[in-house]
């Protein structure tokens, strides 16, 4: 394994970890190869998987903190990550459900309509809980920044800000393009436009992930106290509750539309046969279920560790 390959492998680790252990790990990799302790492939797999774990630990997805405060924060941050995964699934459902009301006969519209409205209302409540959870840290964040914390979080925040700017500019460009196309071209017949939309979606997802990484990296440095952690844990359970409601509502909407207008889900003309399990909805459903599961485990982790965090100081 060449130096270049080793350096490429180490890129999977977070920068702070590389600064501390990168040189040591690099020499151990070379030793392992020289002594025949493993093939290049097995060493690469081992280093890659360990690097992914370190990356996930650095953004609060896995790992054990040293103190109950850190473990509680980690549980709450897992819920934030889960929310992002869930949102991606939700976007897929929203896209798939764009014109459903026109396809379903009015006599059969009550159940899917109620389910879809429940989904929308729950998504609003969930968004408020997430924004509220972030707002709860604002006072501690201001203190942290005043005490010289900005250089520690600057890199992540600037990266997310630049991505947001690029995403916004790309949106304006794609929207301008869309106005020059007809309905059929906007819905798949123009492959170049479809590729541009896909690229923009990837940009949007990168933007969401970059802000989440920035928020998580910052939150881990704040040293949140028990009253804030208790409220964050409460907000986490509220978010989990809305996720469960949205997942159930989506399932009901899906089943109701599948019964009364299966051709809509199949993307075919009225009366034609087709699958009621379109790939986009299946993938969206998997994202929603994965997000709900991850969020539940995060909220439970936060609650379990909150018990060990010091008591709320008495007000005088």
């Amino acid at each position: 394994m060449s130096d270049r390959q080793t350096r490429a492998l180490l890129r999977i680790y977070p920068p702070a970890w590389r600064d501390r252990y990168g040189d040591e790990l690099s020499s151990v990799i070379h030793e392992a190869r020289a002594s025949g302790a493993g093939s290049s492939l097995s060493i690469s797999i081992d280093v890659l998987s360990a690097g992914i774990v370190e990356r996930m630990r650095s953004v609060g997805l896995v790992g054990t903190g040293l103190t109950p405060e850190e473990r509680t924060t980690s549980g709450v941050l897992r819920v934030l990550w889960a929310w992002i995964i869930f949102v991606l699934g939700g976007i897929g459902v929203a896209k798939a459900a764009e014109y459903w009301a026109n396809a379903v006969p009015s006599a059969s519209r009550k159940l899917p309509s109620t389910a879809y409205e429940t989904l929308v209302i729950a998504s609003l409540i969930g968004s408020v809980a997430v924004v509220g959870g972030l707002a709860l840290t604002s006072r501690t964040l201001i203190t942290f920044l005043r005490q010289g914390g900005w250089p520690k979080v600057r890199r992540g925040v600037l990266r997310a800000a630049v991505l947001t700017l690029v995403t916004a500019v790309a949106l304006v460009a794609v929207s301008g393009w869309a106005h020059q196309l007809d309905h059929a071209q906007r819905n798949g017949s123009d492959s170049l436009y479809s590729a541009a939309i896909l690229a923009w979606i990837l940009l949007f997802v990168s933007c969401l992930v970059a802000w989440t990484i920035a928020a998580v990296s910052t939150a881990r440095l704040l040293g949140l106290k028990r009253p804030v952690l208790a409220l964050e844990t409460f907000a986490s359970f509220a978010v989990v509750g809305t996720m469960i409601v949205m997942t159930i509502a989506t399932a009901i909407w899906w089943a109701a539309v599948a019964r009364s207008a299966p051709w809509y889900l199949a993307g075919t003309t009225q009366g034609a046969h087709g699958s009621i399990l379109p790939l986009n909805l299946v993938v969206s459903g998997i994202f929603m279920l994965a997000g709900t599961g991850l969020a539940s485990s995060g909220a439970v982790r936060a609650m379990r560790n909150l018990r060990d965090v010091g008591p709320v100081p008495k007000l005088r």
Partner: protein, 83 residues
């Protein structure tokens, strides 16, 4: 890595080894020593020694318990087959 393989019979890859080193150092159980070579040696801290002694004691107690039950096992089997 060779040392670990010789005494424990487990082959650790470089990534797994440094994952373990990261956790142990974070918990204050080991600390790095200065070294001129590219590979860095580590040593146990006093907290690390205490934790290791505690783990060894627990393992010893487990081994004693299992050994004791194994020595009683044949009699249990005989009683059951005789009844």
């Amino acid at each position: 890595m060779q040392d670990i393989e010789e005494f424990a019979g487990v082959r650790l890859g470089p990534g797994s080894l440094y994952g373990a080193i990261t956790r142990l150092e974070e918990r204050g159980l080991i600390r790095p020593l200065s070294s001129d070579s590219r590979t860095r040696p580590y040593e146990l801290t006093s907290a690390g020694r205490t934790v290791l002694q505690s783990v060894v004691s627990e393992m010893r107690a487990l081994v004693d318990e299992v050994t004791s039950r194994l020595s009683r096992a044949p009699r249990v089997v005989l009683q059951r087959s005789g009844s």
